[in-house]
């Protein structure tokens, strides 16, 4: 009302100009305000570097991050308790199991939406994908079996028995799976033939196996046991434990670097990433990360390790050369498994970004269409309002 009083005190000549001027300024302000969130929204899904996917166990969602900018790009809702996460070798798909449910969700990494949901049985835990990307193996904890998913059809083509399976490692040749079987009193690594889905053997354990991974040459399998503060090194040729490497309390996920010259493991008690020398079977360095570190993913160039900190609700980015944390990224609640897409997708991602920019930056994408629609709608309404105002004025 205050501005109305001022309005009437303006001389009549100016007043005539002021009405449309205020109208136009108001319209411009509205258009500007409506448009401002758009650039942020349209820029977000396009990653500058390879994308990382982290399961947020207590949020029932998967966070999508850009490893180039260390930022969260999106959050994808999934069924309760996201547990295992793997990416296809071509980086086009990410598979997420939900242990509070019975499903494996398939995420299209181009759109970051769920494109398929696969029923695998109650409480699916860890996932593993064959090197050729044709099969995803799901450790179906509640069903005491491993489900084999054909990634071409997203159908479970068969199962193999394994008691309370938790995590799975596949040999680099893609022929054999080692399954951490957590049935109390019968804890073991169950060995499956991937083609025939038959149990080939078993390595009996006195403690409960947790997470496991093969060396790139397939000559070592590192795994961890609940209640043993050492990484167990198995020789798959003899299926015996060759040695144990003492590390920080409660080690969980072990992971080799692509060249096999180093391996890593998270120690959940002290909250650290331990760096190991697999040739000498020694601990070479410790890097402090967040609380209750859970899982590790490597950037495609192998220079950085991304570590999820379940109790700190964050991800620590560790530079493996300098052995320092270069970034700590806040994510949602209880981040557990994490995967970083392979380099193929990083390239595809840049191509997509370039293509979108090259076509004028406005023609593609849903967000730019929304902007154009908004602008058009505003212009039409503004025009109609002006015509109405004009007619009303003429009548008087």
């Amino acid at each position: 009302m205050a501005h109305a009083t001022g309005f009437f005190s303006i001389p009549p000549r100016l007043r005539r100009l002021a009405a449309p001027a205020v109208f136009v300024l108001f319209a411009l302000a509205l258009l500007g305000g409506a448009g401002s969130p758009v650039p942020r929204a349209s820029a977000a899904p396009r990653a500058a570097g390879p994308k990382a996917y982290a399961g947020l166990f207590k949020d029932n969602a998967v966070a999508v991050l850009d490893t180039a900018t260390n930022s969260v790009l999106a959050t994808i809702p999934v069924p309760a308790g996201p547990h295992g996460i793997v990416a296809s070798p071509d980086g086009r798909r990410v598979y997420v199991s939900s242990d509070g449910d019975s499903k494996v969700s398939v995420i299209d990494t181009a759109s970051d939406t769920i494109v398929a949901t696969i029923e695998v049985g109650t409480m699916p835990h860890g996932l593993a994908i064959t090197p050729d990307g044709r099969l995803v193996l799901a450790a179906v904890f509640g069903a005491n079996q491993v489900a084999f998913i054909d990634t071409a059809t997203n159908v479970v083509i068969g199962t193999a028995p394994a008691g309370s399976p938790h995590n799975i490692a596949i040999t680099p040749d893609g022929r054999t799976a080692y399954v951490a079987s957590q049935t109390q009193g019968q804890t073991a690594l169950v060995i499956l033939d991937i083609v025939s889905r038959a149990v080939k053997g078993s390595v009996a354990l006195d403690k409960t196996p947790r997470a496991l991974n093969f060396s790139p040459d397939g000559k070592q399998l590192e795994f961890t046991l609940a209640g043993a503060d050492a990484v167990q090194v198995l020789d798959p040729a003899t299926n015996t434990i060759a040695t144990q490497i003492p590390v920080g309390a409660s080690p969980h996920h072990p992971l080799y670097l692509p060249d096999g010259a180093m391996s890593l493991v998270v120690a959940q008690g002290p909250g650290e990433l331990d760096l190991l020398d697999p040739a000498k079977n020694t601990l070479t360095a410790k890097v402090k990360v967040g609380e209750m570190p859970h899982w590790i993913a490597l950037t495609p160039d192998g220079t950085s390790a991304w570590v999820t900190n379940e109790n700190s609700n964050s991800i620590s980015v560790v530079n493996l050369a300098s052995q320092t944390v270069t970034a700590t990224i806040a994510v949602g609640n209880a981040p557990r498994k994490i995967v970083i897409l392979p380099p193929a997708t990083a390239g595809q991602s840049s191509v997509r970004t370039l293509a979108a920019t090259g076509s004028g930056g406005q023609a593609g994408g849903g967000t730019s269409r929304t902007l154009i629609a908004g602008l058009l709608a505003s212009a039409v309404i503004l025009g109609a309002a002006c015509v109405l105002a004009w007619r009303a004025a003429e009548e008087r």
């Binding site: 009405a19 449309p20 109208f23 309390a249 209750m292 609640n333 004009w390």
Partner: protein
């Protein structure tokens, strides 16, 4: 910036005919029109910004965390405690639990004093003992002696869910007979049960 330029073009062409047409119009007559046009633009603006679901989803507040409620130390029911403490079973139980309690020495003398909670240790990714017998009205204290967080989560009911950081514990009283199974939600191979009665 490009966007602003685009929106300027059609808008700038309007002021001159507009100002001519409005010549002679009374200000009182323009006010309701301005109001109506303003509201229409607001609707258009809202429609425009409302399309950015991706952005809002990205910044969506985290879903309610499944954090268990704060630990509630439940005292033994005064009504049932004297009767229970008088039984030989309860006396044996209180002896078993005597070591951690400084005031345990007075417990046998006072029948009305609730029995000390029976301990379940969590260590090496296991509940010890895995099965614990308590009398009706008896209490159990869980203590996490591991280096990692564990939970005490009921399979069905009868036990309050708790997330226990290393060193943390909680006590619960059981006033109903029955077998109550529980597990660690983080490490579901960890299982235990309390047999009450």
């Amino acid at each position: 910036m490009r966007r602003t330029t685009v929106s300027h073009a059609p808008l700038r062409s309007r002021p001159s005919p507009l100002s001519r047409s409005w010549r002679g119009a009374r200000a009182e007559a323009t006010r309701p029109l301005l109001l109506a046009a303003g509201m229409a633009l607001l609707v258009a603006g809202a429609a425009c910004s409302g399309g950015n679901k991706g952005y809002s989803a990205r910044t969506a507040p985290p879903a309610a965390a499944a954090t268990p409620p704060a630990a509630v130390q439940q005292a033994a029911s005064p009504a049932s405690a004297p009767a229970v403490a008088a039984t030989p079973f309860a006396a044996g139980s209180s002896t078993q639990a005597a070591s951690p309690s400084a005031g345990a020495a007075t417990a046998p003398a006072l029948a009305a004093t609730p029995a000390a909670p029976l301990p379940v240790g969590i260590a090496g990714f296991a509940f010890t003992p895995a099965t614990l017998h308590v009398p009706v009205g008896g209490s159990v204290v869980w203590t996490n002696n591991d280096a990692v967080t564990h939970t005490v989560t009921p399979d069905a009911g009868g036990i309050d869910a708790h997330e226990l950081a290393p060193g943390a514990g909680f006590t619960q009283t059981f006033n109903t007979a029955g077998t109550f199974s529980y597990h660690c939600a983080i490490h579901p191979f960890m299982k235990g049960s309390i047999v009450v009665g």
